[in-house]
């Protein structure tokens, strides 16, 4: 159990049987008054946000959340199938659940799958992934007129800005938190 005084940004609590993450939090207490815990939360399954003010005596269940190492196998009919690397159990998440993670997800990638009870609800990608550049304009050597970066497309279809020397067929490292180019990878 959590009490209202445990509330802080990032805390995961369970309300009406569903997991929520606290996204904004403000403690206030008018002089001689009661403590008020003004809280903004996001439903970790539906993504719906809501705000609520709690008092000191409010209590919350701890959601049964667990992360497991899994490998991405394949996608079929907008279902993305993953396999537990220890038990070989297979599960899937929908395209909607994966959202922006799809920009960086490739076959055989190992990710952390978040379970609420038995139900997979989200994934966490590795912070850095290496992807192949599939579309890039050639770099005209000695071109001093151009800008510092150029757009390229990687194998997942994701587009980003990279330095002009990156060419089609190169592998580049990308920060999955920001989608930013980090470096060209020699393999």
């Amino acid at each position: 159990m959590f009490t209202a005084s445990d509330l802080r940004k990032g805390l995961k609590i369970q309300i009406d049987g569903e997991p929520y993450i606290v996204t904004e939090f403000d403690f206030s207490k008018p002089g001689k008054g009661q403590a008020l815990y003004r809280t903004k939360m996001r439903n970790m399954i539906t993504g719906v946000q809501f705000t609520q003010t709690y008092r000191s005596n409010d209590k919350f269940d701890r959601p049964n959340l667990e992360e497991r190492n899994m490998q991405f196998l394949y996608a079929q009919d907008e279902e993305y199938h993953f396999m537990d690397t220890v038990s070989f159990e297979q599960i899937f998440l929908t395209k909607e659940q994966l959202g922006d993670n799809l920009s960086f997800l490739i076959d055989n990638m190992e990710v952390q799958v978040l379970f609420f009870g038995d139900r997979p609800i989200d994934i966490t990608l590795p912070t850095f992934v290496n992807l192949e550049v599939t579309v890039a304009d050639p770099w005209a050597k000695g071109d001093t007129s151009g800008s510092d970066t150029k757009p390229v497309t990687v194998q997942t279809g994701f587009q980003l800005q990279v330095p002009p020397f990156v060419e089609q067929g190169d592998r580049i490292q990308i920060d999955t938190r920001t989608g930013a180019y980090i470096t060209r990878v020699k393999e």
């Binding site: 005084s5 403690f27 207490k29 008018p30 002089g31 001689k32 008054g33 403590a35 003004r38 003010t53």
Partner: protein
């Protein structure tokens, strides 16, 4: 804040506060932090310290000094309140508290104005956030020119929230309306004293002789921030005991316990007419130096 320069600025502020009170013939006092019994207040949770509690405010000891003949006293001390952490709260913080015999809460509002005016007049070393007569804090620009506004709680609830303060009490929403709808407007253009609280919200304040539904209590707000809380002290031991009984009942309903401060009650009749006020020094420091947050103790929390 804990740079030599930041510590110097805070030191300057503390010196200036002391100078103000010493020039007015106040005695600086220094009372124990660990007490065997506290004033029962349902919304304050004390830390235990062996067989004692850490004080949540110096009020009990200071009033007992008044009972022993002191007429004007002030104190700068640390107070401890469990489960208070936030943008404007720390569970250990610095309080300035002062009392004056023979005065009522309106007299004390004036002295509070004069104290802050004295501090803001020293823009070079104490109040670096001052630009002319304006205090600049975050997006606020507050004229500190005297006199400041005075507004009753009932009028503020009507004006800013469009609700009757008594209805909010019946519905148990007083604190919520105050925090979300009223406080953000208080002291935005000029500081304001919010005064005349419902009696149930002024456990240690005297009931107004002209308006028995309210207690002679006030709070000072600057830029939406509550900075000080004062009142005409309740000195009738029987009425005080009744109010404490209500607080003790509320504390027990929370699953805690509290004892009656009998020696304090026995001393009360010796006070006579008295007014007292507590001011948050860390918040004042934050405002006068134009700092975004209450940082003074943060580095120590990491130790």
């Amino acid at each position: 804040m804990l740079t030599p320069q930041g510590l110097r600025q805070r030191s300057n502020l503390l010196q200036a506060i002391r100078l103000f009170f010493l020039q007015r013939a106040y005695i600086e006092v220094d009372t124990p932090l660990r007490l065997p019994v506290l004033i029962p207040e349902a919304n304050l949770i004390p830390f235990a310290s062996e067989e004692c509690f850490l004080q949540t405010s110096p009020e009990l000891c200071m009033k007992r000094l008044l009972a022993r003949g002191c007429t004007q006293i002030f104190q700068i001390c640390h107070c401890f309140r469990k489960e208070e952490h936030g943008r404007l709260h720390q569970s250990e913080f610095t309080m300035l508290e002062w009392y004056r015999k023979g005065w009522n809460y309106f007299d004390l509002m004036e002295e509070c104005e004069q104290l802050v005016a004295f501090l803001t007049s020293r823009a070079a070393d104490v109040a670096t956030a001052m630009e002319g007569e304006h205090l600049c804090w975050r997006e606020s620009r507050v004229s500190m020119a005297l006199p400041w506004h005075r507004l009753t709680v009932a009028a503020a609830f009507e004006r800013y929230a469009g609700v009757d303060v008594h209805e909010t009490l019946e519905q148990g929403t007083f604190d919520e309306v105050l925090v979300t709808a009223v406080e953000p407007h208080l002291g935005k253009d000029r500081p304001v004293f919010l005064h005349d609280y419902p009696v149930v919200l002024g456990s240690l304040a005297r009931r107004s002789p002209t308006n028995p539904g309210v207690a002679e209590r006030f709070e000072l707000y600057v830029a939406g921030i509550e900075l000080a809380n004062g009142f005409s002290e309740l000195v009738d031991p029987e009425e005080q005991r009744q109010r404490f009984n209500q607080e003790v009942d509320a504390i027990r309903a929370q699953g805690r316990d509290a004892a009656m401060p009998e020696k304090f009650l026995a001393d009360l009749p010796l006070l006579g007419e008295t007014a007292g006020i507590a001011l948050g020094v860390d918040r004042l420091c934050m405002l006068l130096l134009g700092r975004d947050t209450l940082t003074p103790a943060i580095i120590f929390e990491e130790l």
